[in-house]
């Protein structure tokens, strides 16, 4: 038999190095396929079997997957933008302009980051509406809906904190207005605004705090909740297909 691509592929999968990295081994039996998913740290968030119906475009319009894709694009481009951006009052605006006009591919990365941010807000909202109108928020998925609401708030907060970083007029006044809206919170509003801005006005402290929130704290919290969100899809019985389901999880007492 002449060598085929599939043959080489299977040879590669039987090598000792491959087997030491991927634990599931060769073979195309149902067991092997199930193990390939279940024993992989990334894939194990998904279930080893799913309904063909739940993979159809019409079931989800792939809105959650696309939200994740924008989040990953934003993480990758954001890390690269951090290499040229200093979160300080004299430098922030100039660095943003340098990214546009001086840094190679800087304008591409900045625009990709900006448009993905807009797309992520849109996709997260669309995902939420799709879940709502399909009734996919109903038990046993009600907890995952709550996590989704928190993720929506995190998305908006990431968008808001990123808005200040170019340090232009639009950024400055948008954060001034937003911070004053924050101070309308009863009792502790002014204190929340003070802690948020690190002062009484939008200034150096506010820029640095928003930078740390935008680049470290919020992405970490969002990443953690995204992992729980995906894991709960599997634990709650897979994607909602509109059929009558027996509730997943431990039985009641």
């Amino acid at each position: 038999m002449p060598p085929t691509i599939e043959g080489y592929w299977n040879d590669l999968r039987s090598t000792k190095v491959w087997r030491s990295v991927f634990r599931s081994g060769t073979g195309t039996s149902t067991l092997h396929r199930a193990l390939a998913v279940q024993q992989n740290v990334f894939l194990h968030l998904a279930s080893v079997k799913m309904r063909r119906r739940s993979l159809a475009f019409s079931a989800t319009w792939y809105l959650g997957t696309m939200s994740l894709a924008t989040f990953l694009i934003l993480t990758a481009t954001g890390i690269l933008l951090m290499l040229y951006y200093h979160p300080s009052v004299p430098q922030a605006y100039a660095d943003m302009k340098d990214l546009q006009f001086v840094v190679s591919a800087g304008v591409f990365l900045r625009n990709l980051h900006r448009w993905s941010a807009h797309a992520m807000v849109f996709l997260v909202f669309a995902h939420m509406f799709k879940v709502f109108y399909r009734g996919a928020y109903r038990p046993p998925r009600e907890f995952n809906w709550v996590i989704g609401v928190i993720l929506l708030i995190l998305t908006l907060f990431l968008s808001y904190t990123g808005y200040l970083l170019p340090w232009d007029q639009l950024a400055f006044w948008a954060i001034t207005v937003g911070a004053n809206i924050m101070s309308a919170v009863p009792v502790m509003g002014r204190k929340v605004r003070f802690l948020m801005l690190g002062g009484n006005t939008v200034n150096a402290n506010a820029l640095l705090r928003f930078y740390v929130l935008h680049c470290v704290i919020l992405p970490l919290v969002a990443g953690l909740l995204i992992a729980i969100h995906f894991w709960r899809i599997r634990k709650d019985g897979g994607l909602h297909t509109g059929q009558v389901e027996t509730p997943a999880g431990a039985p009641n007492e």
Binding site: W173, G199, N205
Partner: protein
């Protein structure tokens, strides 16, 4: 040996001590965290602005100080100063000489030159600020101290 429910066990008291110390440590971390996040020194501009000699401002004039964010008004009754920060959501307002009003670019609030709201979402009039003359004869404005309306300073 049989144990009744009221007996204090070694494990039980260790758990209580453990949870208690964690609670104390948690409260301490919350207090330290709050204090850490509140800056003790702010490198913000002084609220007191020196706007120069009073004769800079001709009678019946409105002068904008964009850096300080205030209006210095010279009316027939005397001098007074208004904050230029809109009372709605904190945008910087602008003086419109042709319309004889102060207008906010963000959400369309309008004020007359006494700071009284004419139109728009602003909940309060623009604050009147404390104005006085120092020993060198300069006009000073304290942006952190509001004064009652119609509080004029004669020079």
């Amino acid at each position: 040996m049989e144990q009744s429910k009221d007996d204090v066990t070694r494990r039980g008291s260790f758990i209580k001590i453990g949870i208690g110390s964690l609670a104390v440590a948690g409260c301490g971390a919350a207090v330290f965290g709050y204090q850490f996040l509140s800056p003790n020194v702010l490198y913000e501009p002084s609220p007191i602005a020196n706007v120069g000699k009073p004769d800079r401002f001709p009678p019946d004039s409105v002068t904008v100080d964009l850096v300080a964010g205030i209006y210095i008004m010279h009316a027939a009754e005397g001098f007074y100063a208004l904050t230029a920060t809109c009372t709605h959501l904190g945008c910087l307002t602008a003086w419109k000489p042709d319309l004889n009003i102060i207008a906010c670019p963000c959400h369309g609030s309008k004020f007359n030159r006494r700071g009284v709201k004419i139109d728009g979402p602003a909940p309060r009039p623009l604050a009147w600020l404390k104005v006085w003359v120092n020993d060198e004869g300069d006009l000073l404005v304290d942006r952190s101290t509001p004064v009652p309306q119609d509080h004029f300073v004669r020079v």
